[in-house]
Symmetry: C2
Subunit: 192 residues, 2 copies
């Protein structure tokens, strides 16, 4: 079966199918041929949009940053700007889309700079986080490092809740973090 798609629509359909496939089977399992089959176009059709696997991965990651930004914007709006709700939404996004999140931050895309739309989408997401996670630039960077590290350790199951309740663990850990306060040099410590 070959469906007729408007050019832009087909690109969206392919990306949607690719993102679903990525989440099912990881980046190694991504195949333009299988995606074409799922969308119902000829095996050659995807190549007009994505000449190679890296351009497909970059487009999926670009879409991922838009989704992440949307998740953060709506958490900020519905919580009245509570940074903890934002942190929870950020980590929740990563847990719901582990392969996508890994792709967005992983090494699968060798040449990040070669994909300006990906760079733009990631900067937009980080810009929103920087503005809303914390006031000062250093505080925002520290907050981002914290939620990113927590998301990665949870995705990779290096950190696991003792009682099986991952959301309670996330809430407890988010409460431990306050990058806004700058400690004086001699009280500076990582927790002692």
């Amino acid at each position: 079966m070959t469906a007729a798609y408007h050019h832009g629509d087909l690109r969206h359909m392919l990306l949607y199918a690719a993102t679903q496939q990525l989440e099912r089977s990881g980046p190694a399992g991504l195949s333009l041929r299988a995606i074409a089959r799922e969308v119902g176009v000829s095996p050659a059709a995807p190549y007009a949009h994505f000449p190679d696997k890296e351009s497909l991965l970059a487009a999926i990651a670009t879409g991922g940053f838009s989704l992440l930004r949307d998740a953060c914007v709506s958490a900020a709006e519905s919580s009245g700007g509570d940074p903890k709700a934002l942190g929870r939404a950020y980590i929740g996004f990563a847990l719901a889309h582990p392969h996508l999140y890994r792709l967005m931050f992983g090494g699968s895309i060798e040449n990040f700079a070669g994909h300006p739309e990906l760079d733009g989408a990631s900067q937009a997401a980080f810009g929103f986080l920087r503005l809303n996670l914390a006031g000062a630039p250093d505080a925002a960077s520290a907050a981002w490092a914290f939620v990113h590290g927590l998301a990665m350790l949870l995705i990779d199951r290096r950190l696991r809740p003792d009682d099986g309740d991952i959301h309670r663990l996330i809430d407890r850990l988010l409460q431990r973090f306050d990058p806004g306060r700058r400690r004086t040099p001699d009280s500076a410590s990582l927790g002692l």
Copy 2:
């Protein structure tokens, strides 16, 4: 040229060469054949130690966790147990060996549980961090998430120092982190 190696020595030589090659050209560039050539053994010789690429990657990552633990132990010893020095050593290790650190935490090894020695080495490294980064288990997990996230964002150049001085940025951000203090629920925030 074919050198004669004691079995255990050859394994070490191969691993050393593989770790060097990983750091030069990333996981995609790793080739057992090239490693055999570098060490001066027959192309088939490495397969006695590493039947496939995943077992080689797992062995490299296992060695990485031992190196990371060593770096942290010596930072703890030479600083008299200063958690900030430990954080600096942890992040410094990741910056010095970005491909190795990514491999240790990345998705390149599909089946982590299938490599008990890798699991053991990572647990030993994390156990040391947990004991020394902070007192309570949650505080240790939060501290680890923070240094891990910071390391990853710096490796991937998502976070960059404005003034080009990465060590000053690391020091400033480490000072912002104090997971030992648990905030009361209504003051809980990510930095506002």
